[in-house]
Amino acid sequence: MLFYLFVTVALLSLSSYYLGRKRAFAVAGSHIRNLHSLPSFYGSYTALWCGLPALIVFTVWAALQPGVIIELVVASLPPELQQLPPGRLNLVINDIKNLVSGNIVSSSPDAAILAAADHYRHLQTTGNAALWVIVIALALAGITYGWRTISPQLRARNRVEHVVNALLIASSTIAIFTTIGIVLSVLFESIRFFHKIPVSEFLFGLQWSPQTAIRADQTGSSGAFGMVPLFTGTLLISGIAMLVAVPIGLMSALYLSEYASPKFRATAKPALEVLAGIPTVVYGFFAALTVAPLIRNLGTAMGVHVASESALAAGLVMGIMIIPFVSSLSDDVINAVPQSMRDGSYALGATKSETIKRVLLPAALPGIVGSILLAVSRAIGETMIVVMAAGLSANLTANPLQAVTTVTVQIVTLLTGDQEFDSAKTLAAFALGLVLFIVTLILNIIALTVVRKYREQYE
């Protein structure tokens, strides 16, 4: 329904463009040069008057309507239902909503709820009808106003450009709103979590077993929310990944930029970058179904016990995923080193590898460190590989053959499936998200500043 209203407004707006343009020709008479702006600007001016107020009202109304309707429905419920605790009341509201949308209802509805559902439906129809009338009326009023104000003196271009400029600014602020949204959404839930579990326990606790009691007398009711094992697990897997990715990535970048012929480079570089384009879920599948059994069988053959969800498997595959990040970032960095430095080294009789080791690498070191830091932040935040190939149990160990769990794995397991939103369990996921966000943010900022400083040095 609302979609059709949107389309209607858009069509109205489009037709008002032609109306406005025609009007501009009409008021100009035979002298187009009398017009202040090009006729198309008068068209856009009318179209904006038609579409903009209508769409603003439409958005605000559509966003507020469900909330208002629920308020009204709750107010009309019989008092004994209104006095229910918030949790139960929510269930009742859900029942009403399900009745309205024709879904299956949890229990057989009684008369009061049926009446409320009717009321809800009635309010919804009235609200939608009112919205249609108001929005269309606004659009038509906008057309009329725009149409009547068009005169040769009207500075249509300036007005239209002001609006467009405002729209451009508004869209560029979305990035800021996203960051604010991330920070606020994670922070608020984390603060609620820290009301239940103290910060010190969360940051320094050595136990992680996120259960919350449904009943007070339940066995194992006390959940433990210490994130140290998760963090060491994350570091272990990321460490293995970096052990794979840094040597391979760095050496590939050096070879491609210093030794390889242009032809070889033109084929090998994109082929290596294919690794960056493969979805992480594919790596996860590869790790869980191919690499992990391979490592376990290898371990059994050598008489070592390897867990079936060993950190080694996840780390190895994650390392493969990160190779192209390290290689393409360090490639940029190495190419930024001025040719004169290489030439100076060759003139002194150094071989290529000596030039690389003694001149190129020291000169490019800050940039390389920056790119490695970016890769580390990537590894820490990587989710699908570890969700599919790493374990769930939080072991505090440095043994890569054992199963460990990571921050991202726990966020996923805590938040998938049905849970009530207020339990410490789900809130813990947001606290972990906050930690993850802060750690990766710090790494990124350091890396970006280092890389930028380094670039400036040679520019």
Binding site: S172, V282, I323, L448
Partner: protein
């Protein structure tokens, strides 16, 4: 006195040359080995997935003569649709199988026999009868899906020589399958179910259509939101914005958002779009919103690069002819930069297509058998479907997971190829 040390240096250098050249060769080899390792991983992964998944594009069918017995389907003979709908079609299949293998006796053995065909076979018979009630009373040769075990066995993924207790198919079942194969009733055909059906608990009935449609709806939302906003932001920052702290802040924000872990965007989606705004869970609309926030930085960065590659002389010429700044951008700069922006957008879309972690957070991981039909229907996307199937132990699902991965990779190659073609076609050197 003066000559002696010089000769010494010469001999020292000459003596060390062999060592230095060896080191040089070694270093070169390390580089070559590193690159080949990387390339080997690429090849290995593709080979692994293709070898596991190519067989999923074929599916085993069993062709059985079915006698549409009017005594079973419609004893009263009224052709009442309600009666036809509720008839016991499984009995027809059972009768046919028993006629085919008259020597099988005992409840357990008979059950094994009936399990040769997939559990949806009775529904197929029913829809055939409902479509054309004329066939009641006749005998028709009907092609039915074989069960996943039979399918896996026929594809050679179960070794018939290992001990019976170690494999999921019994000796007698193997004998039946062999007999059906010998009589030409068991055949492999192209697996259309994979592309035409939604998810299912039975591997042989599971398809990726639902996930593909979910991905499609999600990407439509993502593109509709992130492309206009991304282009507008890029234009503002590159052409209009004054250089001050505010625009610096925006730039820092965009660069940081590009490096925020994807799962954090999922948390944002869960807290803001679902819990705060009350949008439906598991809906492509929410998935698209989250992914558009994620792809926005990619599109902005690509868009700015495309704008900077337009030479300033074009701008100066437009302004010199009396165009306003907006006219200059709208009529001249943007049309020249749009191919580059589109290339960036397609690459961003390809990344969004492969993204799954944030979508887990907003509930797009549910088991959904229906193919979604709108932006608010519960849905899942292709990578998440892969994740869900990868968890299932059946060999037939491993095969289908690999096939789904191949489809996903095909789409990504297609999109990236499109981006490369666009770039090649519209690239201009100034």
């Amino acid at each position: 006195m003066n000559k002696k040390p010089q000769r010494d240096i010469k001999t020292i250098v000459n003596a060390s040359l062999a060592r230095r050249h060896a080191a040089e060769r070694r270093f070169r080899w390390y580089g070559l080995i590193a690159i080949s390792l990387g390339l080997v991983f690429v090849v290995l992964m593709f080979a692994n997935i293709i070898s596991q998944g190519y067989s999923a594009f074929w599916q085993t069918y069993i062709e059985l003569p079915i006698h549409f017995d009017s005594a079973v389907i419609d004893p009263e003979g009224h052709r009442d649709p309600h009666v036809l709908e509720n008839a016991d079609y499984a009995a027809l299949i059972r009768a046919s199988l028993r006629a085919q293998f008259p020597h099988v006796e005992g409840r357990r053995n008979l059950r094994d026999l009936y399990n040769l065909v997939s559990s949806n076979a009775p529904f197929r018979l029913r829809s055939q009868v409902l479509d054309n009630p004329e066939i009641i009373g006749t005998e028709q040769s009907i092609r039915m899906l074989a069960s996943a075990t039979v399918d896996t066995f026929v594809k050679g993924n179960i070794d018939r020589h290992i001990d019976e207790s170690l494999r999921s198919i019994k000796d007698q079942e193997i004998a039946w399958v062999d007999q059906l194969q010998a009589s030409g009733q068991l055949k492999q055909r192209f697996n259309t179910i994979l592309f035409s059906k939604g998810d299912s608990r039975e591997p042989e009935q599971a398809g990726i259509r639902g996930a593909l449609m979910g991905s499609f709806y999600t990407l439509v939302v993502t593109f509709l939101l992130s492309f206009p906003i991304g282009v507008a932001t890029a234009v503002y920052l590159e052409e209009f914005a004054p250089k001050n702290r505010w625009t610096d802040l925006i730039e820092v924000n965009i660069n940081n958002l590009a490096a925020v872990p994807s799962i954090v965007f999922g948390l944002l989606g869960l807290a803001v779009f679902i819990n705060f705004f009350g949008l439906p869970r598991s809906a492509p609309l929410v998935g698209g919103l989250v992914l558009s926030l994620m792809t926005l930085p990619v599109i902005i960065i690509a868009g700015r690069a495309a704008l900077t590659s337009v030479p300033p002389s074009i701008r100066e010429a437009a302004l010199g002819m009396g165009a306003s700044k907006l006219q200059m951008v709208g009529h001249h700069v943007l049309p020249l930069a749009i191919p580059g922006m589109l290339t960036g957008a397609i690459i961003g879309m390809a990344r969004a297509l492969g993204e799954s972690a944030p979508l887990l957070m907003i509930g797009m991981v549910a088991f959904i058998a229906d193919v979604p039909g709108s932006f608010t229907d519960p849905a899942t996307v292709l990578p998440v479907q892969i994740y869900l199937w990868a968890d299932l132990p059946e060999r037939a699902f491993v095969e289908r997971t690999s096939a789904a991965i191949m489809v996903l990779l095909a789409f990504m190659i297609l999109m990236n190829g499109l981006a490369i073609i666009l770039r090649k076609r519209f690239e201009r050197r100034w």
